[in-house]
């Protein structure tokens, strides 16, 4: 293998792909990045056996072939290259790759290519094309609710459903539940439902270019197989193992009715919650005390201090106080887009619901903390 390319592009693509490489694995090759050159294309590949990523690299191929380089070290080397161009050449007899740029030469020992697994290929018959921007938007709204607790693998995923003219994602760590339903402009040519590791989708979010012109049109090609999902976007291929098992039925978790339904200025309320949360440390709950026409948000941390702030809300009925984990409440408020939000409550020990008032299809169900008063 021998290729020549721009140092800057190599660095950019390497940074993207190296995030997926395993940091510590029994198989050394998994901590590497595979450089695979065919006659007309070069690809960088990495995997940790759960999530795999392949990104294209624009390069002149002098000699096709492939080599697995240690990701961390190679990244450090490429970041420090002195010249705009760089040449990578596999030297089989020395079992290393020569990286030459300007007057600098590096020889980096390769990792065992045989141990680097073949990565999933895109294609197959069940490909669904989804607008990339809508997909990414939906992921970012719900991702924070996915569990990081590996003892419950099912909850570490995001349930992604796409069919007709709707994209829906659900995530829950059992303390809160996020649901986002995104309407699509065009009917999808197919449908799928899969529990995808949240980590894989967060990588995907980084992969899809955002905010640039023409991105509205960018398309994400999604292929779901027995236990695997493959995303293709802008020449990159991200694949992930799917999570086995039945994802909780979110509809059964949503209460049928609520006692209180309050329309609140979302930005104002979020600001209050952020401020008062500063004094809710060491797992102390944030208290919301509702009285006729107002809510007082307060927090208290023993040996640290306390804070409170009152803001007007259209509350009527028996006063009550409910406690929430400040971080969970903040996550919910921040996931509602700006504008007004609707806060629905039942009683101090029943779940509360936050939704956007503009009917944008976002729900955030949050379980309270039992207050010892």
């Amino acid at each position: 293998m021998k290729i020549t390319c721009s140092s800057a592009e190599l660095l950019a693509q390497l940074q993207t792909v190296a995030r997926v490489a395993s940091t510590r694995s029994a198989v050394q090759a998994l901590s590497g990045v595979q450089v695979a050159a065919t006659a007309d294309a070069v690809e960088l590949r990495a995997t940790d056996m759960e999530v795999s990523l392949r990104v294209p690299l624009t390069a002149d191929v002098e000699r096709p072939g492939s080599a697995v380089l240690p990701a961390r070290l190679t990244l450090d080397v490429v970041r420090a290259l002195p010249a705009e161009q760089v040449t990578l050449e596999l030297r089989p007899s020395d079992q290393d790759v020569e990286i030459a740029s300007g007057a600098a030469t590096f020889h980096i020992r390769t990792l065992r290519s045989e141990d680097f697994p073949p990565l999933p290929e895109p294609g197959g018959d069940a490909i669904v094309e989804v607008p990339a921007a809508a997909f990414v938007e939906t992921v970012t709204r719900v991702a924070r609710s996915a569990s990081r607790d590996e003892t419950r693998p099912i909850l570490t995923g995001i349930l992604v459903s796409a069919s007709g003219r709707e994209l829906r994602m659900v995530a829950t760590d059992s303390y809160r539940l996020s649901v986002k339903e995104t309407p699509l402009d065009r009917e999808l040519a197919g449908s799928f439902e899969a529990n995808v590791p949240a980590r894989a989708l967060q990588e995907l979010v980084r992969l899809v270019p955002q905010g640039g012109e023409g991105d509205e049109e960018a398309v994400l090609r999604v292929g779901v197989r027995a236990n695997q999902i493959v995303f293709e976007t802008g020449g990159a291929i991200l694949s992930s193992r799917l999570i086995d098992g039945q994802f909780p039925n979110f509809r059964q978790l949503l209460p049928d009715s609520y006692e209180h339904e309050l329309r609140i200025n979302g930005d104002e309320f979020t600001d209050v919650v952020r401020r008062i949360s500063l004094l809710a440390q060491k797992n102390a709950p944030l208290r919301l005390a509702f009285r006729e026409g107002e809510v007082t948000v307060s927090a208290q941390t023993p040996d640290v201090g306390e804070a409170s702030e009152t803001l007007p809300v259209a509350f009527t009925g028996e006063p009550f106080e409910i406690g929430f984990n400040p971080e969970f409440l903040r996550d919910g408020l921040e996931s509602v887009d700006s504008g007004d939000l609707i806060l629905k409550l039942i009683s101090p020990l029943r779940p509360g619901l936050i939704e956007s008032a503009d009917g944008s299809g976002f729900l955030y169900l949050i379980m309270p903390i039992r207050l010892n008063v």
């Binding site: 029994a26 003892t151 909850l155 059992s174 909780p248 102390a284 984990n325 779940p351 379980m367």
Partner: protein, 340 residues
């Protein structure tokens, strides 16, 4: 609990009461797990080789351990403790710390607990009461069997001033040796030693810690729920094993046994190798993903063993899995959850 394993054995073999009894394995390298107080008079102590115990006390009755039974009895004893005391920290099959701070009359309460353990299990326990775990532990050991001692911190300092420093948990044999080399052979002398001198000799943290222990200062809280940080299985071979193939077979068997009993998958896999000259090494590797898969664990363990390539015959092999699940985000105890 006093001489716990032996005492449990005597429950089903009362005819052995009053005789020296030793619970130990049977192999050539077995060690004594517990000796009855009669056997202790002959110098038989826990952790000495069984062969030596036989020489010291040939008339003793040797009984192989029945851990299944000990666990059952232990659970019964701990259950009795929990009926009386809300906060209990179990630190082994035969030992627990109890938080008595809410009790009006802690001594009376503990007398009742001990009486009930005796009535319901036939076993005797020793109690130590103090302002912290350190004093309580030393007191509980001071008057075994069936001891009952309550001391303030100052009283403990005075009473154990003449005892060797090793009496206090956390001051190990190596430290005792180094202290002796400095002429410090009693807790009293250690307590009176200048902090600067200890810090210079043992480093600032260890130095200050030694002084605190010698003065029976301890701020450690009860650990109510023990979260294991690692699990391991190891075996001492009846004869040293020089053949790599045989070592590897043993290692794989250990890995399989370990994985079978593993409650949670772990990320770090380690081995322990002790050579015939008692050189003991550990090697570990951390994986990208947690595993409890016997194939993965044994292949990593084999890798580590091959990389170490024991230069001498191997006396002991062990496999360990650590690095269990990352702690879930901390949530308040009162946090309610959805039924998912």
């Amino acid at each position: 609990m006093d001489a716990f394993y032996v005492s449990v054995e005597l429950l089903r073999r009362p005819e052995l009461r009053g005789r020296p009894v030793v619970v130990s394995g049977t192999g050539p390298r077995a060690v004594v797990t517990t000796a009855s107080y009669e056997a202790r008079r002959f110098g038989v102590r826990s952790a000495i080789p069984a062969a030596r115990a036989r020489r010291l006390c040939p008339q003793a009755v040797f009984i192989p351990p029945d851990f299944e039974l000990y666990r059952r009895v232990s659970a019964q004893v701990m259950g009795i403790l929990r009926e009386h005391i809300e906060r209990v920290e179990v630190v082994g099959l035969d030992e627990a710390y109890l938080d008595l701070s809410d009790l009006q009359r802690p001594r009376a309460a503990m007398r009742r607990v001990v009486a009930e353990i005796r009535a319901r299990t036939g076993l005797t326990a020793s109690v130590g009461i103090g302002p912290n775990k350190l004093v309580a532990k030393v007191c509980s050991d001071a008057e075994k069997p069936a001891g009952f001692l309550a001391l303030s911190r100052e009283e403990a300092c005075a009473r154990f001033a003449g005892a060797p420093p090793g009496l206090v948990p956390g001051i190990g044999p190596k430290t005792v040796e180094r202290l002796a080399a400095m002429g410090i052979t009693t807790l009293g002398r250690l307590a009176a030693t200048d902090e600067a001198v200890l810090c210079e000799r043992f480093g600032p943290n260890h130095g200050r810690d030694l002084l605190a222990r010698a003065r029976f200062h301890d701020a450690e809280q009860l650990t109510l729920e023990r979260v294991p940080v690692s699990e391991s299985r190891e075996t001492t071979f009846p004869q040293d094993v020089a053949d790599p193939a045989e070592q590897e077979r043993a290692l794989v068997a250990l890995a399989e046994r370990l994985c079978t009993g593993l409650k949670r998958p772990g990320r770090t896999i380690g081995i322990k190798v002790r050579l015939d000259d008692w050189t003991t090494v550990t090697r570990a590797r951390t994986l990208a993903e947690r595993t409890s898969d016997p194939l993965t664990v044994s292949s990593v363990a084999l890798d580590l063993l091959r990389a170490y390539a024991p230069a001498r015959p191997v006396r002991l092999l062990g496999v360990r899995v650590a690095g269990f699940d990352a702690p879930a985000p901390e949530v308040d105890a009162g946090q309610l959850a959805l039924p998912v």
